[in-house]
Every structure is written in structure tokens, then in C-alpha cells.
């Protein structure tokens, strides 16, 4: 009996030994995955959804948004800021590979909070073209996510059709952007979101890359501090109303779960 207890103690000690405290001198990676939803249903092109608030129906055909300037906070309070040049991602429902991305060279740690910007910060919006490569290349990944006549990135693009739209083609088009203006002040639709993982932690280790799973509920783009009705606003692009939509879309995002492998 004593032997059994002793061996149990030994085993539990050993178990603790297999999970050493994170060593901040070592680095690992973390994957962030976005899953798009409409209310409680998974987002799919061609599917018709009903907004319970307005009874409007809509069938999405495009959903893209920039997730940038990512920060991770560890349970001990340490904040890791992803180097800015590597911190621009375009989530595009049409491209499944874009729905998740890997952040590298993260100091080992138990992370329980993620912060990011929805959109492209004003500084990067005014950088020379040579510093807008990768996911910001407007001749590449970011094609269609830029206003060339009014220099600036489009942050969120959500399009589809709806019988409630009064547009000739019955479409709705929301192209939201605006970084605050270059020489004159204008609308700013850059929004920052912080999501806590609650009691969960993402254990980043040299040999363990956790995945943080986030949910984007597009229904909240309609239903937020402003009730967006397709019947009233089928097209919102660079306009003051964009601010209302930005105030709605900041709340589209929520934390769902983490996989520690």
C-alpha cells in the first residue's frame, strides 16, 4: 500500500516535470484561426440568412477583412507584440487558407489574451508602396481592398444580395475603411479588439504550437449599436455612415477555444 502511494507521488512529480515553466528565452509559434458565422449558422456563400432583428434576408457573396497589429498577453502580464511587418493578415472567406495564420518567434508563455486591429493603421496606410508588400500588396493579396482615388485600404468588404436592397441589381455592398485622413481629418474606421481566453491558456512552447480559434459573427455587422438595415443602406463605402458599421463590426469577434497539442 505504501509502495503504491509512494509510486503515485513519484508519478505525479514526474508529470509536473514534463511541463516545465515557460522559458522566455525560447520561442515557439501560435496559430490563429477565424471561423466566419452568421448568427449561429456557419457562413457559406450562396446560403440565405435571415436577420431576426429586421426580418431582412441576405445571401452573401463576399467577405474579407484585415486583421493586423496583433498582440498577445500572457497570464503573467507580459505582452508580446508581433513585429509590425509580419502583422498584417487578410481574412478572405473565398480563400480557406487565409482563414488561419501562424505567428512565429513568440517567447514561450501561457497566453490568455489576444488583441488586434480590424483594418490597417494610419501609419502603414501612408507608408511608401515598397513597404506594403505581402498581404498589403494591392497588386496581390490586397487586390480590391484599396481605394486608389482616395488613397487608403478598405478594411472590411462584405457583399451579397438581398430582396430588401433597393439597388438595381438587388445587391448590398459594404466597403468600410478610412484611416483618419492624411492632411485633413476624415473618418476613422480603424478599430481595436481585445479578446480574453477566460480560464484557457495557449501554451506556446518551442515544441508546442497552440491554435486559438476565434469566431466572426457577421450578423453583428448589422445588429450593433446601430441597426443596419439593407433596405435603408444597401451601399456604404467611404461615407460617415461607415463609422456606424465600424462600431458594429468591432463586436463581430469572439474567442471560442484553444487547442494545445
Amino acid at each position: 500500500m505504501l509502495a503504491i502511494i509512494a509510486s503515485t507521488i513519484v508519478i505525479s512529480c514526474k508529470k509536473n516535470d514534463t511541463e516545465p515553466a515557460p522559458n522566455p528565452n525560447l520561442t515557439g509559434s501560435l496559430e490563429v484561426e477565424f471561423e466566419n458565422f452568421v448568427g449561429t449558422q456557419k457562413f457559406a456563400f450562396g446560403t440565405t440568412y435571415t436577420n431576426p432583428n429586421t426580418n431582412e434576408t441576405f445571401t452573401p457573396s463576399m467577405l474579407r477583412y484585415f486583421i493586423t497589429n496583433i498582440e498577445l498577453k500572457a497570464s503573467n502580464g507580459t505582452i508580446f507584440t508581433v513585429p509590425q511587418n509580419d502583422s498584417y493578415f487578410l481574412i478572405d472567406q473565398e480563400k480557406p487558407e487565409s482563414l488561419k495564420f501562424t505567428l512565429n518567434s513568440i517567447p514561450e508563455g501561457d497566453y490568455n489574451e489576444i488583441s488586434f486591429t480590424i483594418g490597417v493603421d494610419s501609419l502603414r496606410n501612408t507608408k511608401p508602396v515598397g513597404e506594403r508588400t505581402g498581404n498589403l500588396d494591392i497588386s496581390g493579396t490586397a487586390q480590391g481592398m484599396y481605394w486608389s482615388w482616395n488613397s487608403g485600404y478598405i478594411f472590411v468588404k462584405f457583399e451579397g444580395s438581398s430582396p430588401q436592397s433597393t439597388a438595381v441589381d438587388q445587391k448590398y455592398r459594404y466597403h468600410i475603411g478610412g484611416f483618419g485622413g492624411y492632411s485633413s481629418k476624415t473618418i476613422n474606421c480603424v478599430r481595436k479588439k481585445t479578446l480574453s481566453f477566460g480560464k484557457d491558456v495557449a501554451k506556446v512552447r518551442t515544441n508546442a504550437a497552440p491554435t486559438v480559434h476565434l469566431i466572426t459573427d457577421v450578423m453583428k455587422l448589422f445588429n450593433g449599436s446601430t441597426q443596419l438595415k439593407i433596405a435603408d443602406n444597401n451601399t456604404v463605402m467611404f461615407s460617415p455612415f461607415g463609422i456606424n458599421i465600424a462600431n458594429n463590426y468591432v463586436d463581430m469577434f469572439s474567442y471560442d477555444h484553444v487547442h494545445n497539442d
Binding site: 508588400t133 494591392i138 482616395n150 485633413s184 473618418i187
Partner: protein
């Protein structure tokens, strides 16, 4: 024998000598301020300029290969579209505004009549992608250039790599446009004391201009680069079948105080850039001066200099208007308008 050997070398040397190509270099005219464009970021080189020039005059930039930058920006009209009130784009569609000159762009801070683009390197994207201008995606332009028999080699010469990127494409176009410098008008030669004199009327016009016009058309660039409502009547019109009103700078800032404001244009080469104003609605310089004398319409955003002591417009006599126009004609720069380096006929 030794002597003959030397002769041989000389002949060989002479044979090797090819006709000297002009070396392209950006030079700041002595009467101009420092350029706003950051030339250290994109130094103008002979090969970069040649590439930019070829791109500028190549309709490969448009969807169907019919429109080049040079289609609406013609050198002999100071790179404007001579005689068109609104410039013409693809499928014979109209654009919203009169094509501004491509001239002295290194000193511009923002581009377009509404200043919507804040970097010359970002400028070309707009006409390429506009549905009523070239209607082509920039990605497709680059793909066409990559497959082109000549362009990869020209990028190689200009940038040391045949890899065609957006950055290099835009920089090459900027290099050509940066060299469109107009600084050799009669006025320039007079102001730089290069042995040119102005006539009595031209001089009188210059003095009047300083008093009546230079609060907006300031300095050696003849613009303070600001946005102002100059009292043109805002009109609704059908643009390619769509009911339109051009609100100017307000489109960019969304600020109602900017409604109907447009950038103060430079007056260099103004004699040959008619028609005038953002919508090309005034056909002659006389009409422009008449507008400022009697045509200014009141509006909440009207520029205060056009409504002093409650009186609309600028106080001008017919004689004064004539002299001002005499002066404005001294801003015509024949060397620029005929500069072979910038000419489409001289690739």
C-alpha cells in the same frame, strides 16, 4: 610602326563610340523651392526614366489596349487633354473632371483636383483602375508586363532585376513624371536674370497679378496647393448616364466645409491648357478673368478672398484683365512643351 598602332586604337575607339544618349538627371530649377517628393527614395535614372516613359505612352495599361496615360496627357498641351472639358476614358466614357497637367509634380503634395492621393507613387493606380479611365486591374497590368517581350529586360536595366513588382512599376512611372519640369518660360528667364526682359504690359500684368491673384496662385509654382471654392456654380449633370454633382474636396474629407473646394492649380503654361477650371467649363483666359470679376457665386464655403467687405469677386478693370493675361502668357514654356526627352515621338 608604333605610330601606326596608335592610329589603329584611335579608329577603333571612334568606331565604338555610339551616338550619346542624353543622361537623365533631376535638377532643381534655381528659382524653385525644394521638391516635396522624396527623390532619395526613388532617384531618377536614365534607365528608370526610359522605362517610365515607355509605360506612360503604352496603352497596355488599359483593359482593352486603347488608352495610355498619354491619351489624356498630351505634351504639346502641357500634358493635358487639349480642348476637352472633361477628359475621355475607355469606351468613350467621360470622367468627372478636366485632366490636370502633368508638370512640376515633384513640388505637389497631393494629387487630383480633390487631393485624394497623397503620394506621386500611388497616383497611377487611380486612372488605371477607374472604370471610366483605363478600367484595368493593377495585378493584370503587372501580369501583362511580365509576359511582354521587352519590359522584363527594361526593369532589369532600371532596377537591377527583371522581377516586376508594383513598387518598381509605380516608381518608374514617377520617374518619367518627375522629369516633366516646366521652368524655362519667359517669366523664369526674366526672374533668373537670364537676359530676358518683359514688356511694359507684361510687367504691369505681373504687378497686378501679385496684388489680385497671388494670394492663391503663390510663389514660383503659382499655387499654394490649397483647396478653395472659387465661386463656380455647382451643377448637377449626367455623367455616363448617372446623375452626378462634383463636391470636390468633400469627397475625400467628408467634411461639409470642404464642399465644392478644388485644388488651386498652377498657372504655368496656362495659355495652352484650356479649357479651364476643374470641370473645364471656361474656354478662354478672358472668361476666367471675367468669372473672377463678375461671375463669382456666393456659397457658404466660398473662399473669403473672393468675398471681401461683402463684395463678391475680384476688383478688376478691363485694362487690368488684359495686362494680367499678357503676363500669364509669359508662363508658357516652349522648351517644356517641345522637350524631345519627354516626347512620345522620341522613344
Amino acid at each position: 610602326m608604333k605610330y601606326i598602332f596608335y592610329v589603329g586604337i584611335l579608329i577603333l575607339g571612334a568606331c565604338k563610340q555610339q551616338p550619346q544618349e542624353p543622361q537623365i538627371q533631376f535638377q532643381n530649377p534655381s528659382n524653385f523651392p525644394e521638391p516635396h517628393y522624396n527623390l532619395s527614395r526613388n532617384p531618377v535614372t536614365t534607365e528608370g526614366f526610359k522605362l517610365g516613359k515607355m509605360l506612360f505612352f503604352d496603352s497596355i495599361l488599359s483593359r482593352d489596349g486603347t488608352i495610355s496615360c498619354g491619351s489624356c496627357h498630351i505634351q504639346s498641351s502641357a500634358f493635358t487633354q487639349h480642348g476637352h472639358d472633361l477628359s475621355h476614358g475607355i469606351d468613350d466614357q467621360l470622367t468627372l473632371r478636366n485632366a490636370p497637367p502633368i508638370m512640376n509634380l515633384a513640388w505637389q503634395k497631393e494629387f487630383f483636383w480633390d487631393g485624394g492621393v497623397f503620394d506621386l507613387d500611388l497616383f497611377a493606380l487611380a486612372p488605371i483602375e477607374a472604370h471610366n479611365e483605363m478600367d484595368e486591374s493593377i495585378a493584370n497590368v503587372l501580369n501583362k508586363l511580365r509576359k511582354h517581350p521587352k519590359y522584363p529586360q527594361m526593369f532589369e536595366r532600371a532596377f537591377g532585376t527583371s522581377e516586376i513588382t508594383l513598387d518598381r512599376f509605380l516608381k518608374a512611372l514617377s520617374q518619367f513624371q518627375l522629369m516633366a519640369i516646366s521652368a524655362n518660360s519667359k517669366y523664369d528667364k526674366y526672374i533668373r536674370n537670364e537676359g530676358v526682359t518683359l514688356t511694359t504690359d507684361e510687367l504691369a500684368g505681373l504687378e497686378l497679378f501679385k496684388v489680385k491673384c497671388s494670394s492663391c496662385h503663390q510663389g514660383e509654382l503659382f499655387t499654394d496647393l490649397s483647396y478653395r471654392n472659387n465661386g463656380m456654380i455647382p451643377q448637377r449633370f449626367k455623367l455616363n448616364g448617372i446623375d452626378t454633382i462634383d463636391t470636390g474636396r468633400e469627397r475625400i474629407t467628408l467634411n461639409p466645409n470642404d464642399q465644392f473646394k478644388f485644388k488651386v492649380p498652377s498657372l504655368r503654361n496656362v495659355e495652352i491648357t484650356r479649357p479651364y477650371m476643374h470641370n473645364g467649363s471656361l474656354r478662354t483666359l478672358e472668361q476666367v478673368l471675367d468669372h473672377y470679376q463678375t461671375g463669382v457665386k456666393d456659397h457658404p464655403t466660398l473662399d473669403p478672398v473672393l468675398k471681401q467687405n461683402g463684395k463678391l469677386g475680384i476688383d478688376l478693370t478691363n485694362d487690368e484683365k488684359k495686362k494680367i493675361i499678357e503676363f500669364l502668357k509669359t508662363l508658357t514654356d516652349e522648351e517644356f512643351l517641345k522637350n524631345p526627352i519627354l516626347s512620345e515621338e522620341n522613344p
